[in-house]
């Protein structure tokens, strides 16, 4: 289950993340940004709870600018990072 979504302010930041996660063989999905999340870009990267640490490490090391990481909570999204 990909219960976390990472949002971005630029689609190029999202697509770079996509390529880096592919290279690192992290399981993820490219999904449209949920309406409940205010972010600049229409694409999000969704992944499972157990990948969070690796994703954050990669994003940090590669200086990706993110809007945040969100967890679905009923009809709302809570920001976790």
């Amino acid at each position: 289950m990909n219960e976390l979504v990472m949002a971005f302010d630029s689609s190029q930041q999202a697509l770079r993340t996509e390529m880096l996660l592919e290279d690192a063989a992290v399981e993820f999905e490219l999904v449209p940004t949920p309406a409940e999340i205010t972010a600049g870009c229409a694409l999000c990267v969704a992944f499972g709870e157990d990948s969070l640490e690796r994703v954050m490490t990669i994003v940090g090391e590669e200086s990706i600018e993110i809007r945040g990481v969100f967890r679905k909570n009923g009809s709302a999204y809570d920001q976790t990072v």
Binding site: D9, S10, Q12, L15, T33
Partner: protein
Amino acid sequence: MNRPDDKAVIYLDHAATSWPKPEAVLEAMTRSMQEEAANPGRGAHRMAVSAGRVLMRTRMSLGRLFGVSNPNDIAFMPNTTAALNQAIKGLLLPGDHVVATMIEHNSVRRPLEYMRRRHGVQVDYVQADESGTIDTAELSSLCRANTRLIVCNHSSNLLGSILPVADIAQIARSHGAYLLVDAAQSAGTMEIDVERLGIDLLAFPGHKGLLGPQGTGGLYIRPAIDLTPLMHGGTGSQSEEAEQPSVRPDRYEAGTPNTVGIAGLGAGVRHVLEEGAAVIGRREWELTQLLMEQLSSVDGLNLLGPKLGEPRTGIVSFTLDGMDAAEIAFRLDRHYGIAVRAGYHCTPLAHRTAGTTAGGAVRSSVGYDTTRAETEALTEAMREIARSV
């Protein structure tokens, strides 16, 4: 006269733009146009995302070529000129001082002169000698407390001479100034590692040594530098905000990009990465040496720029006693099918330096696919033209 290699034209104008492009560039552009040329970053449908990936892949290839670890620090621009304008006008404020050289292209000199006239920026130009080199000590001595920027070309588009960018970067650093390098004549034929050389801003064309189509180019911006964007407008991101976004590369890429061109540029850069910029540059240098040796035996012909045996990019410029450069270029084209450039090459200051302000100069420039037979054809043609003077 027979033309070598069955090419319709002997193209020795690579310094203006490279031609022909590698087959892979044409294929990438056709594929992009046919399959994925939706508007990248606008909308999340699959084709728009594909188009976005084309931009990212090209950015990543450029990052690998220029030693840029974060590809989003590279913004696409329509050409070198746009990149230079973005860097110069986006950085300088009234009261700032700039040092440039006497052998800059008009795409550096004109923005600087505009900033001087309209925005109270002070500009000094360091003198270059006849062969196109500068005295770095003199450059250093022109720097002041308010020097914000040093701008220089990596290689002169008239003389082919190469400036010591790493040394100039150190001078910039020691004066607390940034270094902007115009890599119009070196990108794709010389090794450029922005980290190792200490370059803060790198303006480059996609359509010359990187073998992409016209309408492509880019600007590398060190992460710590925030430029005021020259263009404000849609980025497909943060659309609810009135301010131009701060996120890169969107900050510097307002408006629909040249997706098809950037697809071609990506293929060109990958061609360069496979061959190696230094390898291509070495081959071009060998051709220039051969050409210079041959041309020096033509009566009345004067070669410009660095001496035989010295480093230079693929440019060999010359004058002929008793004939204007424009007339020579015209005859080369009409009678011999050889394309070269004549005149002032957008760099009047360099002509003053080289002493060729009166009649201009003929500039021949080799590229990644130029053959010996082609340079020999130029020499033969020049021999005939010289006899007719």
